[in-house]
């Protein structure tokens, strides 16, 4: 009699065991999906934190000084160390406001760089204040238009341009943080330079190539 009961109970036990196992497998899958989702969220949060930290540090370096050399040094460091620019120059308008002259550069001989007129790509970015930021960041020949150029804005006007011809070889694309940093340079570098110029030279005059070059001597 006992054997008969056991014989009847076993299939039931097995069925319950299988059901429990199936529920565990399903729960395991659900937890795995949730874990993957949390890991993706963590990666996004880390990337966002990195972006915010980069912007904060870049802004602090650019705006935390009243020495024009330090402002320019900060801009160069941001371009090199944060964005991965390899060959670039920072141009400022001359006293006529129509010609842009290179003030500082990296990966090139600044004294060999010609001034940029209104008809050039650099001049057009200066005049239109529209940065032609594309997806292609392959190196461009130094004797041609830069691969990327961003206007340096001071209020409603432009006072210069940052022109980049090449990025580090292993940099495959511009990321969101790079574009945010370029925007920061575009909107804040000239303000930082103007504040430094005013602090060094006193009120009057204007932010241009001659006034900054004089302070750098």
């Amino acid at each position: 009699m006992a054997d008969d009961d056991a014989g009847e109970a076993l299939p039931g036990l097995l069925a319950r065991g299988v059901a429990v196992a199936e529920r565990l497998v399903a729960e395991n899958r659900r937890l795995r999906r949730e874990l993957d989702s949390r890991e993706a969220e963590t990666r996004d949060a880390e990337a966002e934190t990195h972006e915010l930290a980069s912007l904060y540090i870049a802004a602090r370096q650019m705006l935390g000084t009243h020495d024009p050399r330090d402002v320019l040094r900060a801009v160069v460091e941001i371009l090199v160390n944060f964005i991965g620019a390899k060959t670039f120059a920072l141009y400022l308008r001359d006293e006529t406001g129509t010609v842009l002259r290179p003030v500082v550069g990296h990966g090139l001989h600044i004294e060999d760089m010609p001034a940029a007129g209104a008809e050039s790509t650099i001049g057009q970015v200066f005049l239109t204040r529209e940065p032609p930021v594309g997806d292609d960041i392959a190196p461009a020949p130094l004797d041609g238009p830069p691969r990327l150029a961003v206007p340096l804005r001071l209020g409603d006007t432009s006072v210069g341009v940052v022109a980049v011809w090449a990025f580090l070889a292993h940099k495959a694309e511009l990321y969101d943080v790079d574009r945010a940093l370029l925007d920061l340079i575009s909107t804040h570098a000239a303000h930082a330079l103007e504040a430094a110029r005013l602090a060094a030279a006193g009120p009057g005059g204007s932010l241009d190539y001659a006034s900054v070059a004089e302070l750098l001597e």
Binding site: A47, T49, A74, F82, L168, A169, H170, K171
Partner: protein
């Protein structure tokens, strides 16, 4: 998790701040800074101790390669993991640093998550 400490050796204040910020995201990590190799050597003098060192290569006064040499030649310090921060184009510097005893390298432009992961791996933090 026990407290850990890192020394960041980098002459660029901008770069240094970014690395320090990244390291401070590791729970319990204490971070100190030096602007060149000589300053780092002074900070490494006993009884000071750091669990890991992150260093640039090209710096004034004492560069990162000389710093690695000094640390690896010091019986008290030679076990400290060293992470070298270089540009991709400076392959020769990187190879030289690894030959001198650097534990790992990170290429500029650095990403904070990459710094955190490298340091966690070298310190056995999960």
């Amino acid at each position: 998790m026990p407290a850990r400490s890192a020394l960041v050796v980098e002459d660029s204040p901008t770069m240094r701040q970014l690395i320090v910020f990244a390291l401070q995201r590791i729970r319990g990590m204490r971070v100190d800074e030096a602007a060149n190799g000589l300053e780092a050597i002074r900070k490494l003098a006993p009884p000071a101790w750091f669990d890991i060192i992150l260093t640039d290569v090209n710096m004034p006064i004492m560069d990162g390669l000389k710093l690695i040499q000094r640390i690896r030649a010091d019986s008290e310090l030679q076990s400290i993991p060293i992470v070298v921060i270089t540009t991709e184009s400076a392959a020769a510097d990187r190879e030289r640093a690894l030959a001198l005893g650097a534990s790992a390298y990170i290429t500029k432009p650095i990403q904070a998550p990459q710094v955190i992961q490298t340091v966690r791996e070298l310190l056995g933090l999960t």
